[in-house]
């Protein structure tokens, strides 16, 4: 569905390349996550793919066709959710959606969309009176107002409280179950882990690692468990391999002296730091 090969991009008047020869592809029905700190090239890559940035080298294809060759019909096929709210503040939420609806061939009912993200009761309120979280939810539903096949979401849970963040993530999973292809950028590792089939770590315009969250965790995990003993409240680490034959562990287990056992699998955060040497800020 989306293919990127040896993609390079340099902003006008910039001395360095923002994107340096990256390769990846996204299959139909897949949720693909781009993880990286601010300024790593996540949004730039997306902007190339939805034609807000031109002048790249390499290949950036949607449905086998180079994005530079797509006309305006590309925007019937794709939906874009921006990182920052962008609405007509003097119009209500419903008026905003109704306005944009008129430019698409096929659309969904704006009220249903507002209802999905808990904005139905605020449908007739001016967007200028919305909180950032409400504006972000409106941004989110506007991105699939026209029921696109491919969705680009830039930090879709940014500025949302945990409840609304879960609502948005559930909708993204629901869209995937309907066969939509979704390309997310985020620096929320937890969200990426819950949502993405595959993730790519991008730093300074280069992809440093790419795989499913599970595989990345397996590849970079420490195969051990940490045990907290009940009486001493001391912690001890045991290797996972051969744990069933480890006499100290088995004795403590049989003596009912173990309070907790935690596997020491790496989080995506840990793996990101391990692979890139950078933190996600």
């Amino acid at each position: 569905m989306i293919t990127v090969k040896d993609l390079n991009f340099q902003y006008p008047n910039a001395s360095n390349f923002a994107i340096k020869g990256i390769d990846f592809s996204i299959e139909k029905g897949e949720i693909f996550g781009f993880l990286g700190p601010s300024g790593s090239g996540k949004s730039t890559t997306q902007k190339i793919l939805f034609k807000l940035l031109t002048g790249y080298s390499g290949a950036a294809r949607i449905d086998g066709k180079e994005v530079s060759e797509w006309g305006k019909d590309l925007y019937e096929k794709i939906g874009v959710g921006f990182e920052l709210p962008n609405h007509y503040l003097k119009l209500t939420a419903l008026e905003n959606l109704a306005f944009f609806k008129n430019f698409y061939a096929k659309t969904q009912d704006p009220m249903d969309l507002l209802d999905m993200v808990g904005l139905k009761k605020d449908a007739n309120k001016k967007v200028g009176d919305f909180s950032k979280g409400m504006k972000m939810r409106l941004n989110f539903v506007r991105s699939f107002l026209h029921d696109p096949e491919i969705l680009f979401l830039d930090e879709p849970t940014s500025g949302l409280d945990p409840v609304n963040s879960k609502v948005v993530k559930d909708i993204i999973l629901d869209l995937k179950s309907k066969g939509k292809t979704i390309f997310i950028t985020t620096h929320q590792m937890y969200d990426a882990e819950k949502l993405c089939d595959r993730v790519a770590f991008i730093v300074d315009g280069e992809i440093k690692a790419m795989d499913s969250p599970e595989n990345l965790k397996i590849q970079h995990s420490n195969r051990s468990v940490e045990v907290l003993f009940r009486n001493s409240m001391e912690k001890e680490k045991f290797e996972l391999d051969g744990l069933g034959q480890n006499k100290v562990f088995l004795d403590k287990l049989q003596a009912n002296e173990i309070e907790t056992i935690h596997s020491k699998e790496a989080s995506l955060d840990d793996i990101f730091i391990q692979v890139t040497g950078k933190t996600l800020v």
Binding site: F50, K51, L52, K72, D73, L74, Y75, E76, I78, V80, F82, L84, P85, N86, H87, Y88, L89, K90, L91, E95, F99, F100, N102, F103, Y104, A105, K126, R142
Partner: protein, 237 residues
């Protein structure tokens, strides 16, 4: 057609929900009433005012026309401020459709406002045909002011300052009537210079066709240059 109706409907909603823009929308009506009733009253009180009726109508015509340019530039400026232009760029229609419709809208309304001013002002009359020609040129001040404000102002506060500045620039060529000799052509790069000359020729039986054609050409060149700047700075970033 449905898209145009949507745009008009949305823009009118935005205008009527903004006090400043609503005042600017009705300002031409207030100006016409002022010229029609207050200027004759002033002329009765101070007969010397009567010597300047042509200049007053020239001034009132340009003030009427620029109001619509201001309104449209502020709608675009707000879209720029709120990043709505980004959303417009990922719609299945060209963003220039938005711009073109608004420029036509602003030009038509400006021309109509100026036409009403010229015909209802009542203090000087350039004739019906010349009113049409003058209205076309007055109307073109709308895209002129729209492009300047929407391209160069960073926000609405700056936009207001730009509006006052551009208004002053558009009024400057009126000074040419007080300059003897070719020095008056120093203002000729400002499109409004040719509109004032056309107006002057209209009420003095001069060569209106000449000023109309030259003026139209200057407006065309200046507006094209401003459009290229707008495209480069707003859409090609």
């Amino acid at each position: 057609m449905k898209k145009i109706v949507t745009l008009i409907h949305t823009d009118l909603r935005q205008i009527f929900r903004d006090k400043t823009l609503t005042v600017f929308l009705f300002a031409p009506v207030i100006l016409i009433v002022f010229v029609r009733f207050f200027v004759p009253y002033m002329t009765d009180q101070y007969p010397i005012v009567g010597d300047h009726h042509g200049m007053i109508l020239m001034f009132a015509g340009i003030q009427t026309a620029i109001m619509f340019g201001f309104i449209i530039s502020f709608i675009i400026l707000e879209e720029k401020d709120e990043n709505v232009l980004q959303v417009i760029r990922v719609l299945p229609i060209s963003p220039f459709y938005f711009i073109l419709y608004r420029l036509i809208f602003a030009t038509a309304f400006s021309a109509f406002g100026a036409f009403l001013m010229l015909n209802l002002g009542g203090i000087a009359y350039p004739g019906l045909l010349n009113s049409f020609l003058l209205s076309i040129q007055y109307g073109l001040t709308a895209p002129f002011i729209t492009f300047i404000i929407a391209t160069f102002a960073k926000n609405k506060v700056e936009g207001m300052a730009f509006f006052k500045g551009v208004d002053l620039v558009l009024l400057l060529p009126m000074l040419s009537f007080f300059i003897v000799g070719n020095m008056k052509y120093i203002f000729s790069i400002i499109p409004a210079f040719w509109t004032y000359r056309l107006f002057h020729a209209s009420i003095n039986n001069g060569n209106t066709a000449f000023y109309f054609i030259i003026g139209l050409t200057i407006y065309g060149i200046v507006i094209s240059a401003l459009f290229l700047q707008f495209k480069k700075r707003i859409f090609d970033r």
